[in-house]
């Protein structure tokens, strides 16, 4: 079948190296560029994390300015330069056109442009680390007045400006990507692929893109005002004698973006998990409709919960109650999604491949992460938990799961499709187990620190009498974190080795999966489908039709085209 497509004349316009690998408009190449850049930034962010964790175990390893800077950059990098580019830019770009049977994105040039804007933003971020005056160290939430007058409070004026600039560019690039995703899925689906036949991953990417599109804009407005504060000395967010701005306004604008942002990266991760789990447990999604509706409901609700990050930050106490209610409400669609995910395992015949192991661990960790959100969403207990390590543990159980466990599950799952090669299975299993153990070793103790009232972003716990007795917990966390990063670095070596020298993957569909991307040869050629076109006949998850593992029904079939296709056409 792959040979068939390969032979059926794809129009090969000879491309220069630059055109093919650097300034390519091919969605797969762009996706890989995003993936690689994201991984590089992940190494950076992880290293920063290790450095300040060592400092927490042995205070004095860093200076306290360095410590704050590293914490700030770790947060920002992991959110904006790792999770988003890999999950939206990387997987989104590679998989969406393949899954919907398109030949490329709707706006290929815009797509390429979005990657290069992202690249520039990462470069600026790294530059901002080394500028005179030091890097920005006010926390990834960039709360003013600390950030509105950095020269005075942090001594890092230029660093802050560059940091904000990098953020703005990153948002711009992700906006372009989002416009592309939405337009592509709405207007370029293969014949017969109705919206309710889309793979859940595509649904999740679309909802995520919409959330990002509508939530990031107020923050961009806020960022402009903040830059004016820094550069022109206005006082939107600063408070001085006779100049009354409002720091809380920034917090609102930031979290109005910040909370949907969490779901912007959460949804694609959930989508990956659904694809992986259905494939390896050979079961259809327990209730496709329920998942889609729950996702949309959660997406809408996510615009109404932002102030739960500010319960004790001086907002109106009555609106705090309202936000607490919505926050608790949003746990319901997610609990439904997770229950559906759990029941998707049920009745299957589960293959514990590396991808599946990672998916299972991610699923279990999501349960912990989601549940641990309740004490924070409940306004009464948040009085105590706000800005303590409980928060840290909570969002590491969600965000680390998103950005690492689910991502790696996706990488193992689609690696043959992306590169036409295999990753060693045994290694993958060991990798999964070690990751799982070390991850819990470093994340779980955070809950106890939180219960003990350990505030976040403390350079050292030794200053406070009531925290000194928990120093050993910090040491335990640090050791696990170091081991965790080591594991991932080893994995990266294997990953890059397998890209170039892994065992060839002959079959286009090694996992016997149903969705459209597995009909294309791996790796798919430019314009994906050669002289064929996919035609969709049924829903995405037709597994276990009559209790026999081998027969699964692919979502569609390839149909020969009379007119050969050349270039992007709509």
């Amino acid at each position: 079948m792959s040979e068939a497509v390969a032979s059926a004349g794809v129009i090969h316009h000879e491309e220069t190296f630059l055109r093919k690998y650097l300034f390519s408009t091919d969605h797969k190449t762009i996706g890989k560029q995003y993936l690689i850049t994201g991984i590089a930034m992940a190494i950076l962010g992880g290293t920063l994390a290790i450095l300040f964790r060592i400092n927490l175990a042995h205070p004095g390893f860093l200076t306290n300015e360095q410590y704050n800077t590293f914490v700030t950059y770790h947060g920002a990098i992991m959110f904006f330069w790792v999770a988003m580019p890999i999950l939206l830019g990387g997987f989104g770009n590679i998989l969406i056109p393949l899954m919907i049977g398109a030949r490329d994105m709707a706006f290929p040039t815009l797509n390429m442009f979005s990657y290069w804007v992202f690249f520039v933003s990462s470069v600026i971020l790294i530059i901002s680390f080394f500028v005179p005056g030091g890097a920005f160290s006010g926390g990834w939430t960039v709360y003013p007045p600390l950030s509105a007058d950095p020269g005075r409070y942090l001594g890092a004026n230029l660093g802050t400006v560059l940091f904000l600039l990098a953020l703005a560019l990153e948002f711009a690039s992700m906006l372009m990507g989002g416009v592309n995703f939405i337009t592509t899925v709405l207007t370029m689906r293969a014949k017969g692929l109705t919206l309710m036949r889309l793979p859940i991953f595509v649904w999740m990417e679309i909802v995520a893109s919409l959330l990002f599109l509508f939530s990031v804009a107020p923050l961009i407005a806020g960022a402009i005002m903040l830059l004016l504060d820094i550069i022109l000395g206005t006082h939107f967010f600063r408070v001085e004698a006779g100049k009354v701005g409002d720091p809380v306004l920034w917090q609102h604008l930031f979290w109005f973006f910040g909370h949907p942002e969490v779901y912007v990266i959460l949804f694609p991760a959930l989508g990956i998990l659904f694809e992986v789990i259905t494939t390896y447990s050979r079961r259809p999604v327990f209730s496709y409709k329920l998942v889609v509706y729950a996702t949309i409901a959660a997406g809408i609700l996510s615009f109404l919960v932002w102030a739960h990050h500010q319960f004790v930050a001086g907002i109106n106490p009555l609106s705090a109650i309202a936000f607490s209610i919505t926050t608790i409400l949003i746990s319901i669609p997610f609990s439904m999604t997770l229950v559906v995910m759990g029941l998707t395992f049920a009745g299957g015949s589960i293959r514990f491949t590396p991808a599946m192991l990672f998916a299972i661990f991610a699923f279990l960790m999501f349960i912990i992460g989601g549940l641990s959100g309740l004490p924070l969403g409940a306004v009464g207990s948040d009085i105590y938990f706000h800005d303590t390590y409980f928060v840290v543990a909570h969002f590491h159980y969600t965000v680390f799961t998103i950005a690492v466990l689910s991502t790696i599950a996706g990488i193992y799952h689609w690696f043959p499709k992306m590169f036409g090669r295999k990753i060693n299975e045994t290694f993958g299993k060991i990798h999964a187990w070690l990751t799982f153990i070390f991850y819990n070793g470093f994340a779980f103790p955070g809950f106890f620190l939180g219960l003990a009232g350990h505030p976040r972003r403390y350079y050292s716990a030794l200053e406070f009498g009531y925290l000194q007795k928990y120093q050993w917990v910090h040491e335990l966390m640090t050791v696990s974190a170091v081991l965790l990063l080591t594991t991932q670095v080893v994995f990266l070596f294997v990953f890059f080795y397998s890209i170039f020298a892994g065992a060839e993957e002959k079959s286009p569909n090694p996992w016997k999966s149903t969705t459209l991307e597995w009909l294309a040869p791996s790796p798919p050629p430019h314009l994906n489908w050669g002289s064929f076109a996919p035609v969709v006949e049924r829903g995405p998850y037709e597994y276990a039709k009559n209790g026999k593992d081998i027969d699964y029904l692919p979502q569609g079939k390839l149909v020969k085209l009379k007119q050969p296709v050349s270039g992007h056409e709509h």
């Binding site: 447990s281 299957g348 209790g547």
Partner: protein, 248 residues
């Protein structure tokens, strides 16, 4: 795990914390066991072919959603109660109630600056703006069993005034005045932390809450200028005072 609760109303918060923690532990463990059961029962080696339908017993797992919803409602109710008690009622209202009940209260002002707390006391007469007002650095001395009303303001950036032992925390915001109210019920010396990143020395922005017996508090007020203070029930021997609040 939780530090000792020294305030009269801390139990409200503790109740929510305990409820939520135990609730999520139970729900978590149950769902983990269900998952392990599923993963074990339907593993490839034992179950080579997928079933074409989910066993109806497992379909009941959806009841976890109802458990979640009920749990959510209880949690909401109690947490909102606690929140209402501490922060929703305007501080003047609380003050009036306190006076009607004939309880005693003290007022203090706390100003957060990088990186120390300045505590302003109204002095013996209990009113601000008279010349017996005085300031202390990083030290909040209050009498046991009194209602303590704290006015919070910031001199520069955001801080967060956090007394773990009293289960209260509120942000200190420049340009705004925020309020705290608590009722210390146990003498001793406790720590005040800053829970909002405020700069390089954030982790050192530490104050002390000293709860004295009523008569000791009066004696202490009279004994100005304060050089030092020591009572047998304060865990460490002496507490030095610095006037003007410019301590680091």
């Amino acid at each position: 795990m939780l530090p000792q609760d020294i305030s009269q109303h801390g139990y409200l918060v503790d109740r929510v914390i305990k409820l939520s923690i135990w609730g999520i532990v139970v729900v978590g463990i149950v769902s983990f066991f269900i998952m392990f059961y599923i993963l074990y029962k339907f593993r490839r080696t034992k179950n080579p072919f997928p079933l074409s339908d989910v066993p109806s017993g497992l379909k009941k797992v959806i009841f976890i959603d109802y458990v979640m919803i009920i749990f959510d409602l209880i949690l909401l109710f109690m947490s909102t109660w606690a929140w209402f008690f501490f922060f929703v009622r305007p501080v003047e209202k609380i003050k009036k109630e306190v006076q009607e009940k004939g309880e005693k209260f003290v007022e203090v002002r706390v100003i957060g600056r990088q990186f120390f707390w300045t505590v302003e006391y109204p002095g013996r007469d209990g009113v601000f703006g008279t010349q017996d007002d005085f300031k202390l650095g990083n030290l909040l001395v209050v009498p046991e069993g009194y209602n303590v009303f704290v006015k919070l303001t910031s001199g520069d950036v955001l801080h967060s005034f956090f007394i773990p032992n009293a289960r209260i925390k509120y942000d200190v915001i420049p340009g705004r005045e925020t309020h705290l109210w608590f009722k210390p019920a146990k003498v001793g010396k406790y720590e005040i932390a800053c829970a909002e990143l405020c700069g390089a020395m954030h982790y050192r922005m530490k104050g002390y809450l000293v709860v004295l017996k009523e008569q000791d508090y009066k004696m202490w007020l009279d004994s100005a200028p304060f050089s030092e203070i020591s009572f047998d029930y304060l865990d460490d021997d002496k507490i030095k005072f610095v006037k003007g609040g410019e301590v680091r």
